[in-house]
Amino acid sequence: MDYLYDGTFEGALSGVYVMFYDRKPEEDQRLLEQQFYQADCLIPSKVVETDAVRAEKVARSIIKHFGVRGFRLVTTAYLAENKEYGTHLFRFLKHAYRIGEGAVDCLSDDAVLTLYKHYNSVTREVHRFLGFVRFSELENGVLYAQCEPTYNLLSLMVPHFTERLGNQTWVIHDTKRRMAAFFDQNTVEIKPLESVDGIRLSEWETSYRSLWQGYYDSAAIETRKSDKRQRQMMPKKYWKFLIENPQNQPNVYK
């Protein structure tokens, strides 16, 4: 049986609720996003409604059995935006309830390991982006950063910058997902934002950019250059919005 949900996290939890309720054998059950679903006449399918009450029941149960760590595992893994997330979540919960308390540590179990891997990819990328995000000062003093992370990191980056740049006004814009986090030195709001053109930089912005570029170039040790190592540590897909220019190519973000 294929269960179809709307792609939201609440939708996935609602799906899981229905699946557990139906008590079908585990092997052939999948939970898939409705919008990408390709019907197969041999497999019956069923659309599950997203239901806040049911979703909350599942969420509470996860926290009760596997603690806040367990809940963090499933929410963070969701942000990896994997197409199979629903099915992975269902299989994880099936196995985890059987294993019992502490199931998140049972990496020898396939279903646990799968979700853990997604969790790991997301947290790793968050950690990288905490370093790679670059703010530019706009004419009105607001700090503005663009980014295009592989995973949906915005909500996970926000707490870090709220504490760190607590006395600044900033916007972090995920231009790939057209979402942005707005911070006014008080509260954060994450909402849709289309690409912005005609950004006007502050008077000093370009000077600090060239100081940073100068610093970056001087910090390299000529005789030990290694593009391979550099790319290992900082894959090219992250270069687009860096102010410093790892290999002196024309910068797209001027």
Binding site: L107, S108, N167, Y208, G214, K225, Q230, M233
Partner: protein, 428 residues
């Protein structure tokens, strides 16, 4: 001279100092201020040689009244342009870079101008302005100037996260030879002072609510390898003593890069130098995270690390009576001794073992490097398929892992410490 020119000169002069890490501190943002410190440290960029850029690493000035043979800033070197920042210039760079998220904070070192105390006061002035006037909460690492007044060292410790006093060379004899202006005791004394102050301030912090913090990220030191002829054994013995007796957070090893006309032993600073540096970091790693003692890694009889094999495998080959180990039974400490099993993997194994015995397949998925581990382990009493017992030389041949020296960088080992996600493993 423009700020840009100064920055270029004083960055160039500081870049051979290997430490850059911004880890170890959890300083919170001050009210109305900017900046905090992230415990695992954060890399903001990587240089073209693949090293992490975390801190704005600069010298306050590259003018120096000393004449250390291994240093480009030495008095007798006419080949470099000299300049100096003012404290305000440094403060402005730090704040403006920090708000744009270019850096985690500042690593400030300096040549000696006028005298040691005056120099130390300049560094303190920068740290003080950042913390008090600007309420800056980001990471600050400054160099402790050997021989400066203990009161200055203590004062600095109240502003900054980490301080380093570089021991420079492994022995007093080498120091006398290459850095005649410096005295070993001037380095060791402030290290002791820092250890004591840190202990007494943290005792206060336990008792009083608002006791000031003293060097939350502790102290580190650095020594140059390959400029003089000390064996690896004496170097790691020294490091062990630093970790134990001085409560040192890190010892950094810097492969000597010849500067000017000073003649170092043959081969110093070349690719072999980099490889040696790499092996020393591996041995150091064993001291810090794998519960090894220096005397288990090397002995006075065979005082140098094998360049073809990593130190942990060297130990395993010398101590074959411990192997093979049953993965499902041995203690955490013993798991750590198995080649191909690192800290994270060992922790994963310990956690997963509670739910039932593990097999080779599961081990692979959990991150065991089977290529190395298979010669040393049993699963449920059985050896890895196809593994028979090898004689020592045969086994050694199979385990040789000489990385190409040209591709080496200390960050092969370093990265784990900085990239939070990695070493924290399952830190949900």
């Amino acid at each position: 001279m423009t700020t840009l020119e100064k920055l270029q000169i004083l960055t160039d002069a500081a870049k051979y100092d290997v430490s850059c890490s911004s880890s170890g501190s959890e300083r919170k943002a001050q009210k109305g201020g900017m900046g905090n410190a992230a415990l695992p440290g954060i890399c903001h960029s990587f240089t073209q040689d693949g090293r992490c850029i975390s801190l704005l690493k600069i010298l306050f000035t590259n003018q120096c009244i000393y004449d250390c043979a291994y240093c480009i800033n030495r008095r007798s070197n006419d080949a470099v342009k000299r300049t100096a920042f003012t404290p305000e210039e440094v403060v402005d760079l730090v704040l403006q870079f920090y708000r744009r998220n270019y850096i985690e904070g500042l690593f400030l070192s300096s040549g000696i101008i006028r005298d040691v105390n005056y120099t130390m006061e300049q560094l303190i002035e920068v740290a003080k302005t950042l913390r008090e006037r600007e309420r800056f909460g980001g990471y600050i690492h400054i160099k402790g100037i050997p021989g400066s007044d203990p009161k200055l060292i203590e004062r600095a410790g109240l502003y900054v996260d980490r301080m380093s006093i570089n021991v420079e060379l492994p022995t007093t004899r080498s120091l006398r030879l290459l850095a005649p202006d410096k005295k070993r005791i001037d380095m060791i004394e402030p290290m002791k002072l820092i250890r004591e102050k840190k202990a007494s301030y943290s005792a206060d912090a336990g008792r009083f609510k608002h006791a000031p913090e003293f060097l939350p990220a502790g102290q580190t030191t650095q020594l140059i390898v390959g400029a003089t002829d000390e064996a690896d054994y004496s170097i790691i013995k020294l490091s062990e003593a630093f970790y134990g007796r001085m409560a040192m957070k890190r010892v950094y090893y810097s492969s000597y890069v010849p500067v000017g006309n000073f003649l170092a032993p043959i081969g110093a600073g070349g690719p072999m130098g980099m490889l040696r540096e790499h092996r020393l970091y591996q041995a150091d790693w064993l001291l810090r995270f794998y519960d090894f003692r220096a005397d288990e890694i090397l002995t006075p009889e065979s005082p140098n690390l094998d360049m073809a094999i990593d130190p942990k495998t060297q130990w395993a080959l010398r101590n074959r009576s411990f192997f093979p180990m049953e993965i499902n039974r041995v203690s955490f400490k013993m798991l750590l001794r198995i080649p191909g099993i690192g800290n994270v993997t060992a922790r994963r194994i310990m956690a997963a073992r509670r739910f039932g015995p593990l097999d080779f397949d599961m081990l692979k998925k959990m991150g065991v490097v089977m290529k190395r581990a298979k010669y040393f382990i049993l699963c449920k009493g059985k050896p890895y398929p196809g593994i028979v017992s090898f004689d020592a030389e045969h086994l050694r041949q199979r385990l040789i892992d000489a990385p190409k020296a040209s591709q080496l960088s200390i960050f092969d080992l370093y990265s784990g410490g900085i990239q939070g996600g990695e070493r924290n493993g399952l830190s949900l």
